[in-house]
Symmetry: C2
Subunit: 333 residues, 2 copies
DNA sequence: CCCGATCGTCGAAGCGCTTCGATAACTTAG
DNA sequence: CTAAGTTATCGAAGCGCTTCGACGATCGGG
């Protein structure tokens, strides 16, 4: 291993000069800097991460706690993770991956000074991990919105606004009977707040506009989709607007409509809530409110880095939704 | 932060005694150990990871380089990752996540002594990252099988055997016209060896048995699936056995068969090659050779830990496939 | 021309931990 | 009863880096 001593010797300067030349924390003459840089290059020098962490109290590593269960949103999760890892690199940071339920892990990596901060996905209303997080000296940012976020930063898509946007789009097209096919009951029960916020937004906006509305949770399987659709059709005959917030069920819902002879968008308009690539990867390009998962991951990193580098206070940011009209919505006939 | 000094003081022993009591590397009397443990508990002591890494040359962190692109195998990738992270914890290790194409990342984390070893997914025949890997002092294990694996460990499912198993199963049932619907052309072109090994196994086994066979690559989309199926039907009229090695296309292939009035397994038998949960999550439970992604990830960790802890040499392990007959295969009529 | 800044560099003191002798107190074999 | 091991503990030397204070040299202002 080549160390900073080797570099100092090769460049004919002291160790501290090398350190300052590399970090830029004190002025160093151009000529010295160049000699140092040359030595670094020729020796292939890499600072030892542990030594650096020990001396500087900074690790250049972020912890990311992600739900690795193989369920519903694998694709979405992956996009979050990608967003986090990619943006972290822009800030010269790497990412340590923790699994969702490894509650001890957060203590281990934070208290053990392995990371500078923690990003936590899939936060529930009363998440048991929050107290642990608050106890650490490292800042944290949550992807999601717990009931009490005091002391912690949060980012998420503004799901109430998502629902509003979807409903408004359908209502503007003249639809007066609108249904929401949503997350699985289990997700609602877990009190993952995005599902609840979506329903709340849907309820209040349909009420405000005075349109008939029903909400049905939907299991993430073919059978679940068929079931949910049947329940919607039974509870709200003559429904012409459908909001679907469930990536897995999406293709099955579409297929089932077709099988039943219900044509989209002639008979029923469909607005999906899903990542862009899902909306575009279906048989028809879907009118959709996109879930900018990569973006959210990136924003989470930005927030945490601002807290680290500029002592920024904890804050909550809700991203505004964007609806793109494509081929699955049309005026009510 | 509480340090080992605090613990030593609280327990009334020296720093080194605390260290030995905690690591067990030298005998310590039961009474002393207990006093130390008590102090640790009461002070909530956590060793500083950086300091430990600096002194011991071990970080308790593994690097995992995973393809985070949102494509085909998101589910499979997730399972690999889960397998790695979970098994790593059994060995008291955490996982640093690198993206597939961050070639510099592997140098950064290895040369910078951030990790004890590297696990790399999705290896290609002539992977440009291998030379970098070989240059590092940390051991590496590849998930996949490059042309030249010298100095590096490898694990993977034995895809030639997978093809053989699937073909044999169909042949035993009397099928004499068998097609393989495989990976997208792009994957073949990337020289990801699993796809090639699958095709090679398929070709040699069908030849050996003297059954008629065609192979068609298949894009991972609904349209791609329909296309591939059409090509198969055109090139091998009267085909009765289908091996499908493409998770994304799977549902579309099944749906298209149904639409065409081709009933499974009455008219055509289908063997899938996919993770167990995919095989069970379809409309019919699929006869399938399962891809034990979680297991492979776990094995990768085991191999790397053996190299670290017991100086084990680099080796290659190919996992034997297992076929489970379910509802989509039947004797040829 | 001298004083106080400013600039560029150095030495040394840690950061918190592991590990290598060394030592002292006991055993045990001969 | 002594020499040679054991066993349990301690002290000190690093591991490789950052950062603080100091110092000589150079500069501009009065």
């Amino acid at each position: 291993m080549t160390t900073i001593d080797d570099v100092a010797r090769a460049a004919g300067v002291s160790v501290s000069t090398v350190s300052y030349a590399l970090s830029g924390k004190r002025p160093i003459s151009a000529s010295t800097r160049q000699r140092v840089e040359r030595a670094v290059r020729e020796l292939g020098y890499r600072p030892h991460a542990g030594a650096r962490a020990l001396a500087s109290q900074r690790t250049s590593v972020l912890a990311l706690m992600a739900p690795l269960r193989v369920d519903v949103n694998v694709g979405v999760i992956m996009q979050f993770v990608t967003g986090v890892v990619t943006r972290a690199r822009d800030f010269e940071h790497d990412v340590l991956l923790l699994t969702q339920d490894d509650h001890a892990g957060i203590e281990r990596v934070a208290a053990g000074s392995m990371v500078d901060a923690v990003i936590m996905m899939d936060v529930e209303a009363e998440d048991p991990r929050l107290p642990i997080l608050r106890r650490q000296r490292q800042p944290a940012v949550l992807i999601g919105l717990p009931r009490d976020a005091s002391g912690l930063s949060c980012v998420d898509l503004d799901f109430e606004a998502v629902a509003r946007t979807a409903v408004d789009h359908l209502a503007d097209l003249g639809h007066r009977r609108i249904a929401l096919i949503g997350s699985p009951q289990a997700v609602l029960d877990r009190h993952t707040t995005y599902a609840q916020r979506m329903v709340r937004g849907f309820r209040s906006e349909t009420e405000r506009l005075g349109v008939e509305a029903v909400f049905e949770p939907c299991e993430s399987s073919v059978a679940g989709a068929v079931d949910a659709l049947d329940r919607v059709l039974a509870r709200l005959p003559g429904v012409t607007g459908l909001v679907v917030h469930n990536e897995v069920a999406l293709p099955a819902v579409l297929a089932t409509l077709r099988e039943r002879g219900i044509e989209v968008p002639r008979d029923v308009s469909v607005v999906a809530v899903c990542p862009e690539d899902v909306a575009l990867g279906q048989v028809q390009a879907l009118t959709a409110v996109s879930i900018p998962a990569t973006r959210i991951g990136a924003v989470a990193v930005e927030m945490v880095m601002h807290r680290l580098d500029h002592g920024q206070e904890a804050e909550t940011r809700l991203l505004a939704p964007e609806l793109t009209a494509r081929t699955t919505t049309a005026p009510a006939s």
